[in-house]
Amino acid sequence: MSQLLFFTLSAMTILSALVVVFTRKPMYSVLSLIVCFFTIAGHYILLNAQFLAITHIIVYAGAIMVLFLFTVMLLNLNADSDVPKSGKLRIAATITAGMLFVTLLASIKSTTLGDFAFPPASDKGLVQHVGQRLFTDYLLPFEISSILFLSAMIGAVVLAKKEKH
């Protein structure tokens, strides 16, 4: 059952990821990326990481992808504005990515994983548990990340603001 779910989700993930890369219309890319993120959220649930699954949907689908969508619409991008790379470059890109995949696979093959044979207690991914870690051991990084957000926000506002002439 879970294997079936895994394969279904994986197939959807890969398919939507490929669409992101290969479709010529930016809007389709954005939409299929959203699908891809939802399937990844499905994987999280499959791994019993409910807190992250929810956060993932809120942050990625809710915030980031909306931002992408807005930008695409704001800039009025469509298939006409997109000039594909030349054929040679595309072949080169495919080969290079393929080479990376092969070498990564080879690296994985040559690495012995530790002992992960038995899945642990299932409550590790629950809100309670992650929250506890976050507000005890990782409190300082958590607070600092708010400063990062603040600076990113100010940076974005300053950058995107219309310049005065």
Binding site: K85, L89, A92, A93, T96, A97, M99, L100, T103, L104, A106, S107, S110
Partner: protein, 632 residues
């Protein structure tokens, strides 16, 4: 005591800083007193330590750990023992008198403040030199006094010839310093320490006269040759007379030039372990002594005569060291500091009175006009000539006695040298102070005795020159040799290493003393007969011929150096400058730059501004890294 010990070098340093930094804002004339009093204060500190410090005691002051790496520790340390005490008293005592004298002598000079600044700095470095507890500290002082000597020889830097003299002194000293430096490296390499006491201790464990010891001591001696103006590096000292006369008295007679003697006595164990070096020192000292005395016979510049006399006396001291008579060398160093400083100051007083005239052919008859100078000068001349019972008589006689014990040939040469000394000193005295004045009436009218700041040091030094011999009365007078006893703790470790000849019997010693005294008196009378009775005059420059001409031109040593060393070096430099530099060095450099340039021009094309290309490069780089990781 530690505090007092620190104050000794610090006080002149403070004087230097105050005069050097604030001199402009201080009332005119006060700077000289600041300089002098700082040295006087230092002298008082020395006396206070002397009062409390026993002859066999020593103070070690480690100011801080200066250099520390590996298992080498060099501290910024001072060391005060009996030898240091003697040197300290000479440096600060005579130094103070010369400072005082300079107040009068340099009065009205535009560089008055600068002069005292340099002088104080010199005293500071000289004190470091004699107080340093390790060779590196000594070397700082060694270099520092060299620097001050350079600054003070070229004090009147508007005169091109004076600047040349200063540079000559500096370069000549540098040759010696290189020897010292190399010697120091060898010591550090083989003993692992530069601390003088430690090195002395370690040296006794080595085989006597081993190549290592001979090498080290010879290198150190090269340093001493340069600093103390021995053959063949003596030529800078007569030229150094370009500086103001107090400088000649302080640096080039009493203190700095004796640094070489001090250094050898300080490392006496090291030297005593290398008899070969001792022989070299002996013969260089002997040769210098007689060589410089011969040149002194024919010089007409009052300061040049004194300069060659200094070289000759230093040679005598080195001969004493070469004989292993370390305390005798120090004894003569002390008495020499008294009477030679006095002679220079007297000469300065004469020059001062004659408004810069230095040629003795234009002097004469000054005896009545400047009586204090005359009286002190003649006593100093008697002392240096070895007139019985004056200081120089005892110190010189002690060295001659040691020479007689060990090597009759050395004794004969040194005896001749001291006869020559008596002659040329009194040639100087008679030509300067007796007969009639040979200058212009105009000059004669202005001749006047110097102010008290100048005559007081003369009188004090005169007293010291006369009675200074009391610190080293020979055994025949049935008293102990005060200085020799005082220095026992320093010279004792080497005493057993030196081969001494048979002790002279008292009657023989008295005989020798009488002989030396009578010979000195004889030479003085001969000079009197020649220059007063016969009224002989040194010829004009052009009239000198034959061997006297050779002597007058100082055996053409400067000219030989010029044509054999200086010119070839210049030629070589020129060849390097015009050919080697342009054809070889430039080409290599330009070719290297050309390769880099064209390489850079090619490589920069990779930075083509295309982001896509960069990403490609990055991914390919990652792939390559993964592959490397997989393969290894």
């Amino acid at each position: 005591m530690t505090f007092l010990g620190l104050l000794i070098p610090l006080l002149p340093l403070m004087g230097f800083l105050v005069n050097g930094l604030l001199g402009k804002y201080l009332p005119k004339g006060s700077t000289g007193w600041i300089g002098s009093l700082s040295v006087l204060a230092s002298f008082i500190c020395v006396l206070m330590i002397f009062k409390d410090l026993g002859a066999a005691q020593a103070i070690q002051i480690d100011v801080f750990n200066w250099i520390s790496f590996g298992n080498i520790d060099i501290s910024f340390g001072l060391w005060i023992d009996s030898l240091t005490m003697v040197m300290l008293m000479v440096v600060t005592g005579v130094g103070f008198l010369i400072h005082l004298y300079s107040i009068g002598y340099m009065h009205g000079d535009e560089g008055y403040t600068r002069f005292f600044t340099y002088l104080n700095l010199f005293i500071f470095f000289m004190l470091l030199l004699v107080m340093g507890s390790n060779y590196l500290m000594m070397f700082i002082g060694w270099e520092g006094v060299g620097l001050c000597s350079y600054l003070l020889i070229g004090f009147w830097f508007k005169n091109e010839a004076y600047n040349d003299a200063a540079q000559k002194a500096f370069v000549m000293n540098r040759i010696g310093d290189l020897g010292f430096l190399l010697g120091m490296f060898f010591i550090l390499f083989h003993f692992g320490t530069l601390d003088i006491q430690a090195v002395e201790g370690l040296a006794t464990g080595l085989t006597a006269n081993s190549t290592l010891l001979i090498g080290i001591t010879l290198l150190l001696f090269v340093g001493a040759i340069g600093k103390s103006a021995q053959l063949p590096l003596y030529t800078w000292l007569p030229d150094a007379m370009a500086g103001p006369t107090p400088v000649s008295a302080l640096i080039h007679a009493a203190t700095m030039v004796t640094a070489g003697i001090y250094m050898i006595v300080r490392s006496n164990v090291l030297f005593a372990m290398a008899p070969t070096t001792m022989t070299v020192i002996l013969w260089i000292g002997v040769a210098t002594s007689v060589f410089a005395a011969v040149i002194g016979l024919k010089q007409n510049d009052i300061k040049k005569v004194l300069a060659y006399s200094t070289v000759s006396q230093l040679g005598l001291m080195f001969a004493a060291l070469g004989l292993g008579a370390f305390s005798s060398g120090v004894f003569h160093l002390v008495t020499h500091a008294f009477f030679k400083a006095l002679l220079f100051l007297g000469a300065g007083s004469v020059i001062h009175a004659l408004h810069g005239e230095q040629d003795i052919r234009n002097m004469g008859g000054l005896k009545k006009l400047i009586p204090v100078t005359y009286l002190t000068f003649i006593l100093a001349a008697l002392a240096i000539s070895g007139f019985p019972l004056l200081s120089g008589f005892f110190s010189k006689d002690e060295i001659l006695a040691h020479a007689f014990e060990q090597n009759k040939l050395v004794w004969i040469i040194l005896f001749i040298s001291s006869l020559l000394t008596a002659f040329y000193m009194f040639r100087l005295v008679f030509l300067t102070f007796f007969n009639n004045f040979r200058g212009t009436e105009e000059t004669k009218h202005h001749i006047h005795e110097s102010p008290w700041t100048m005559t007081l040091p003369l009188i004090i030094l005169c007293v010291l020159s006369v009675v200074g011999g009391l610190i080293g009365l020979p055994a025949v007078f049935d008293v102990s040799h005060l200085l020799g006893t005082y220095l026992t703790s320093v010279t004792e470790p080497s005493a057993s290493l030196i081969h001494h000849g048979e002790m002279l019997s008292h009657s023989l010693e008295i005989g020798l003393m009488t002989l030396a005294g009578l010979a000195a008196i004889g030479m003085i009378l001969y000079a009197r007969w020649k220059y007063i009775t016969l009224k002989a005059m040194p010829e004009a420059d052009s009239a000198i011929t034959g061997i006297p001409k050779l002597i007058y031109h100082k055996f053409y040593v400067d000219e030989i150096y010029e044509s054999w060393i200086v010119k070839p070096v210049f030629k070589m430099s020129e060849w390097f400058g015009t050919f080697f530099d342009k054809q070889v060095v430039d080409r290599v450099v330009n070719a290297t730059a050309g390769v880099m340039d064209s390489g850079g021009k090619t490589l920069r094309l990779f930075q083509n501004g295309n982001t896509g290309f960069y990403v490609f490069a990055m991914v390919i780089g990652m792939v390559v890294l993964f592959i490397i990781r997989l393969l290894i």
